[in-house]
């Protein structure tokens, strides 16, 4: 079975599939050729704005400390919001996209996928493996893509139900509030650890890396900056918790809307077989969902509202996704392919419904999306340990002076 046997694609001839691939390749090439000074100015502007927001938030809390409560509280609140927004911008529009290599073409060592380290719990090196490679290569393939439920949630009917799934609403709330730490553990591959398939040596290496990075993050937000505000340290901790919470919930929301709304399908190992580049494109379109919104919403979500475009061209500059989206959509219409999109609240509503439905065994609920195949379960597939077949990218953010040491 190949991807063209998936029901949504049955009407396509082999020539159609190749033609779609060619059109998408041409689209990519056109954008690549037209990249220039304006795009470079864009990312520099975003980075500058983000750093000003972060710096003024930190300084704001320190300045607020000796003030009277009347002035202190609003200043602290504004600082917390500014810090939260800065973290969101850094993670979504800057970090995520820079690490995809979207800005590597600028040949600027300071804005480059090999040197970027981001302001969140997960070390860049592990992200580039779990996200750029595993998730983007094997998007929505059951048993391959760990982003299906992050090893915590049951997000597909094909995942076997266990009584532990009854706690899903709680796990979901925890995942949303602690999202950065959930992501930090992501590349450890909790499923593999549970099944005893994780190389203990590699696990130790990764854990050490996570602990080191996590410690820096925690000391910064919950020790140093509170200490700088003297007797107001408790209020600063509260403000920083609020900022991190804001970022966590937002990042969780955006990411869950990328692959779990009803239109986004799952695939099986069989569909990966002999997959061509054009078929890979098709799988990305069908496994992904967009959401609609204004320019500010798209900026704050790292342009992941254009998730379909991002999955087709993960290393194409994010500020151009909006421009190519109508063309991708027109292409889908031309070939009668689904192009899943909707307002953010509807997309997330579908996600929530799926999470709660799958709390229960399959026989007690009805499926909202086309089934992946008759009687397909995730256990049918021999999970491939990607570490066995793929060498990791080893560079850490050269950014941090700790980089040399943490390469251990």
């Amino acid at each position: 079975m190949a991807i063209s046997d998936v029901q949504e694609y049955c009407h396509l001839t082999e020539a159609d599939v190749e033609a779609i691939g060619r059109e998408l390749d041409a689209l990519r090439e056109r954008v690549e050729r037209s990249r220039g000074a304006k795009d470079a100015a864009y990312i520099r502007r975003v980075i500058r704005a983000q750093r000003w927001m972060a710096a003024s938030a930190r300084i704001g809390m320190i300045v607020a400390a000796p003030l009277d409560k009347r002035y202190r509280r609003p200043l602290q609140a504004a600082s917390a919001v500014s810090l939260g927004l800065a973290k969101i911008l850094e993670n979504m529009e800057i970090g995520h996209n820079v690490m995809h290599g979207q800005w590597d073409w600028m040949n600027d060592p300071e804005i480059h996928s090999s040197t970027w380290e981001w302001d969140t719990g997960q070390p860049a090196e592990q992200w580039k493996h779990s996200h750029n490679y595993i998730h983007h290569q094997f998007t929505n393939v059951l048993g391959y893509d760990n982003d299906i439920g992050y090893g915590v949630l049951r997000m597909a009917r094909e995942q076997r139900w266990t009584p532990a799934n009854l706690g899903q609403p709680v796990y979901n709330a925890l995942l949303a509030t602690l999202f950065q730490w959930g992501v930090a553990l992501h590349d450890l591959d909790l499923d593999a650890i549970r099944h005893g398939k994780k190389d203990p040596e590699e696990m130790r290496r990764q854990l050490a890396q996570i602990v080191r990075k996590g410690r820096h993050q925690l000391v910064k937000d919950y020790v140093l900056y509170p200490a700088l505000t003297g007797p107001r340290w408790k209020e600063t901790i509260r403000a920083n918790v609020a900022a991190n919470l804001m970022r966590n919930v937002w990042a969780y929301l955006i990411i869950f809307c990328g692959h779990f709304p009803d239109g986004a399908l799952h695939f099986t190992e069989d569909e990966l077989e002999d997959e061509t580049r054009a078929e890979w494109y098709l799988r990305q379109i069908l496994g992904t969902a967009n959401f609609e919104g204004g320019p500010l919403l798209h900026l704050m979500s790292g342009n992941l509202g254009y998730q379909i475009e991002h999955h087709l061209f993960p290393d194409l500059v994010s500020n151009r996704y909006a421009e190519i989206a109508p063309e991708v959509r027109a292409l889908c219409e031309k070939y009668e392919l689904p192009y899943t999109t909707g307002p953010l609240h509807r997309q997330y509503g579908q996600v929530l419904r799926t999470i709660h439905k799958l709390t229960l065994p399959n026989r007690m609920t009805k499926d909202d999306r086309p089934p992946t195949g008759e009687g397909v379960t995730i256990e049918q597939h021999q999970r491939v340990r990607h570490e066995d077949t793929h060498q990791r990218r080893t560079e850490l953010g050269a950014w941090s002076r700790a980089a040399g040491r943490s390469r251990a």
Partner: protein, 373 residues
């Protein structure tokens, strides 16, 4: 480039603690507040030169030297040491259409520890899109990237008693740095400068050289204008500089001139007294056998022949390869070769160890190889 920087930090740590070192320690202490970024990343919001993460500088002045040449006076930012040796070149990275392009140019200013600027002199080459941009398109205030000084085409300290400089066209720039150094240190010995240019108008630094000549009796200057006089024939050197065999010689200019000079000195069995500076890539190896180049992180593969460098192969495959000078000088293009053998085109050296650092712009595959890009 990178190793150089490491060495220079170690060197300064061995010496007594300077205020700059102390300031560096403070900044390292502040790292914890800005992690995962550096304090420098925030300081550049205020002044782009306040960062030592990447060396950078601000173009202070663009001084026109001739119709097609200009001197860029650059104010370097943090981390610059001002102690280049006269004759060395620096890498300069300039953003054009959003993309950094790197080239290397000789420093024309003399080294000065207390200095605040350095100067490079650039001639706009007809086919050189970056040199043209530097001469005609660079506004004062532009921020450029810099790479620390490098190169063996240098004047020893103390200088030799008798020296000869053979210069063609813009090859004057490293020599000018040497002459200015000799002048500043008052160590101008018996120096002869033979300087060829197409026309008097295109001769860079002509007035300054005349002034130096007037100031120092021991400095002999021969001007040669090839549009009127034709290409200088080295056989005539015996008439012009009878004692050239006894002089330490530095030659810098276009490739055909350097080839002739090299041959002339070799024939006289005097290679060890000759110093050459070439800016174009001179390939000595026969090329590799070619092979399949795999780019680890993108999973792309490309079949490259023995004349295609790894950099070119990567670009053909659409991999975002880092690059700089493209002639093996600046090391910007260095990546880790995970497996396979590659050959250095400049000297035929082969690199066959796993996980070696290779300069992709001057190496070609010998059989299949895998790069960590």
């Amino acid at each position: 480039m990178f190793t150089d920087r490491v060495t220079s930090t170690t060197a300064s740590r061995d010496a007594q603690t300077t205020p700059r070192d102390r300031w560096g320690r403070v900044r390292r202490g502040l790292d914890q507040l800005t992690t995962p970024l550096l304090p420098d990343d925030y300081l550049t919001l205020i002044n782009p030169l306040w960062s030592s993460r990447e060396l950078r500088g601000r173009v202070e002045k663009v001084v026109r030297e001739t119709d097609d040449a200009a001197t860029l006076v650059i104010r370097p930012g943090w981390g610059w040491t001002y102690d280049h040796r006269p004759g060395q070149y620096v890498g300069i990275g300039v953003q054009v259409d959003g993309k950094f392009h790197w080239r290397s140019y000789s420093v024309s200013s003399p080294p000065k520890r207390s200095g605040r600027t350095l100067a490079i002199t650039v001639r706009a080459m007809p086919e050189g899109f970056l040199s043209d941009h530097l001469v005609n398109g660079l506004a004062p205030g532009t921020i450029v990237r810099l790479a620390l000084p490098n190169g063996d085409f240098v004047l020893p300290d103390p200088p030799p008693a008798r020296s000869l400089f053979l210069v063609g066209g813009s090859g004057i720039t490293p020599v000018m740095s040497m002459l200015r150094t000799l002048d500043r240190r008052g160590t101008m010995g018996d120096v002869t400068l033979h300087y060829a240019s197409t026309t008097p108008e295109r001769m860079i630094f002509r007035d300054e050289i005349a002034a130096l000549h007037a100031k120092h009796e021991a400095l002999t200057v021969h001007e040669w204008f090839s549009d009127e006089q034709g290409i200088f024939d080295l056989a005539r050197l015996d008439d012009l500089v009878p004692d050239w065999r006894r002089r330490e010689t530095w030659a810098c200019g276009p490739a055909p001139m350097l080839d002739a000079v090299e041959q002339h000195w070799r024939d006289a069995d005097l290679d060890d007294r000759l110093h050459l500076e070439r800016f174009s890539l001179q390939l000595k190896g026969d090329g590799g056998e070619g092979g399949l180049v795999t780019f680890q992180n993108t999973g792309r593969e490309v079949e490259a022949d023995g004349a295609t460098t790894l950099l070119e192969a990567g670009e053909q495959a659409g991999v975002g390869m880092p690059y700089g000078c493209r002639v093996g000088i600046c090391h910007t293009c260095t990546v880790t070769k995970i497996s396979g053998t590659v050959r250095d085109l400049r000297n035929g050296d082969e690199f066959d160890q796993p996980n070696e650092q290779v300069q992709t712009c001057v190496t070609v595959p010998v059989g299949p190889c895998t790069l960590n890009v």
